[in-house]
């Protein structure tokens, strides 16, 4: 907006900022690769392959879902609701659904040992969150999950601005997304059933054999974005940074949310200031903006208020 280079460090490469595709690819894929490959072994281990009846077990899995409609519907609702909440993602949906299923199950002791209800709760919620996550992504431009953060990046690359204007001006794309999710779930189910016996065996392949193929695809993918070899370096550095974040206990989705939403927020912020002649009152002088601002403050401050209240109570001091 101002024609000034910012945070480039004198580098021509950073004139347009850090590229999205290599950064996100490296952050998620390479960091996961570092963990996966260094741990060794394989995703699953099985000593006696000959005793496994793959097709029979596939059908058993189908019947496990069909014979538990209440658990399935409950997991769908939990997954969709969690998906609507921005930034939480599949693991949270799975965890919440698993916990609820375990508490409501009469056979809670079997959870953690391959109980079908536990697996069903996790996977159904994980899939259901995609539909819920699409809502904040398209409506507000806030990704409902890490996958939606990637989708947001795709929107930006194609010049689409997520938010109310997208719903008004590109409703056809919104419907295409909805139909895409529905059809992809249907086709995915069919394809997965067909290839699940084969795919299950892939989990037995040692990580040291799968990892190089994945790295190949990551580096090529990062290069293909703009055919700039430095993008591969960005992916590498992002992967190392992502690993350090995960090791230190920081979630990666927050970086992606800030990375994608940051420019949008800044543009809206500066536009508002320009319209209001530099006055910050413009952010709270309308009922909707004031409510949203208060919600932001309450959301950020609530965890601290609760802890401070507990601290004052435990020390015998009361606030009059």
């Amino acid at each position: 907006m101002f024609g000034v280079m910012r945070y480039t460090g004198g580098s021509n490469y950073l004139w347009d900022g850090i590229p999205l595709v290599p950064f996100v690819t490296g952050l998620f894929a390479i960091s996961e690769l570092i963990i996966y490959s260094s741990q060794g072994g394989s995703t699953a281990s099985l000593t006696d392959l000959a005793g496994v009846q793959w097709i029979k077990q596939t059908f058993q899995g189908i019947m496990d879902v069909v014979t538990r409609p209440a658990a399935t519907v409950r997991s769908v609702i939990i997954g969709a609701v969690v998906g609507i909440i921005p930034g939480l993602g599949g693991p949270v949906a799975s965890f919440v659904s698993y916990t609820v299923a375990m508490r409501r199950s009469p056979d809670a002791a079997d959870f953690g040992k391959g109980a079908p209800e536990g697996v069903l709760a996790c996977q159904v919620a994980m899939d259901a969150k995609d539909g819920g996550a699409l809502l904040p992504t398209v409506s507000f431009g806030i990704p409902g999950s890490p996958d939606q953060a990637i989708l947001l990046g795709a929107f930006m690359i194609h010049g689409l601005q997520p938010g109310p204007l997208m719903i008004r001006d590109h409703m056809d794309i919104v419907y295409a997304l909805l139909l895409g999710i529905i059809l992809s779930q249907v086709f995915n189910s069919g394809i997965t059933l067909l290839i699940s016996p084969i795919m299950a065996k892939i989990s037995l392949i040692p990580s040291r054999i799968i990892a190089p193929f994945v790295l190949l695809l990551v580096f090529f993918g990062a290069y293909m974005a703009k055919t700039n070899i430095h993008d591969v370096g960005v992916a590498l550095l992002a992967g190392i940074f992502g690993y350090a974040m995960r090791r230190a206990g920081f979630p990666l989705i927050t970086v992606v949310m800030g990375f994608i939403l940051g420019p949008l927020v800044e543009r809206a912020f500066l536009q508002t200031l320009q319209v209001a002649d530099g006055s910050y009152i413009a952010f709270i002088n309308r009922p909707i903006s004031m409510v949203l601002a208060m919600l932001c403050v309450v959301t950020l401050a609530y965890p601290f208020f609760g802890k401070i209240k507990g601290w004052f109570g435990k020390n015998g001091r009361t606030v009059s």
Binding site: V4, Y7, I35, I209, F219, F220, Y223, M245, A248, P251
Partner: protein
């Protein structure tokens, strides 16, 4: 006061330094350019310092729930995985970095099969024949797929030896 150095502490310290440097750099920009970084940077710095302080001085009485006697302290939960030893992490990172440097120098055509063969032989424990075959087939498949999109594959920064395949690539200005 003995401070236990761990990755969380190091990472938070580095983040504090980075955010602090960005805030300092932001003060050099014109007002319209620096306003957003300052608005975002100062709360970020404050929160990072809070986290750092909590980790450096865990014995201080921060507002929170007092643990009943007999209850075990909550273990720090790392996202997604159990933290592994550093040696395999550094080895894996070294391999990934070596692949990138090889690509930079000799290009995808040569670096990919070379690196794959070396990794399969050294780390995966495959036989030489399997390693070479796997590397050759997967390299060919991926490179052909990329070329099918009309994308010129990076040939490497060394002087041109085989046009379009080995050497002759011009590294974009950094």
């Amino acid at each position: 006061m003995k401070i236990r150095i761990d990755i969380t502490l190091v990472f938070e310290t580095l983040m504090v330094v980075m955010v602090g440097a960005m805030l300092a750099a932001a003060t050099q920009y014109p007002i319209g350019v620096r306003v957003f970084p300052l608005w975002v940077g100062f709360p970020t710095l404050f929160l990072l310092l809070y986290l750092l302080f909590k980790d450096v001085c865990p014995h201080w009485k921060f507002p929170g729930r007092k643990r009943p006697p007999g209850e075990a302290p909550a273990e720090k939960v790392y996202e997604d995985f159990d933290a592994t030893a550093w040696r395999p992490i550094l080895i894996t990172t070294g391999w990934i970095t070596a692949y990138y440097l090889l690509i930079l120098v000799v290009g995808f055509f040569v670096a990919t099969p070379l690196w794959l063969t070396a990794f399969f032989l050294w780390e995966s424990g495959l036989s030489p024949v399997k390693s070479i075959l796997s590397a050759a087939v997967s390299s060919y498949a991926v490179i052909r797929s990329v070329e099918a999109f009309g994308i010129a594959v990076w040939p490497g920064a060394i002087p041109k030896i085989i046009p379009g395949i080995l050497g002759g690539g011009i590294i974009p200005p950094l």
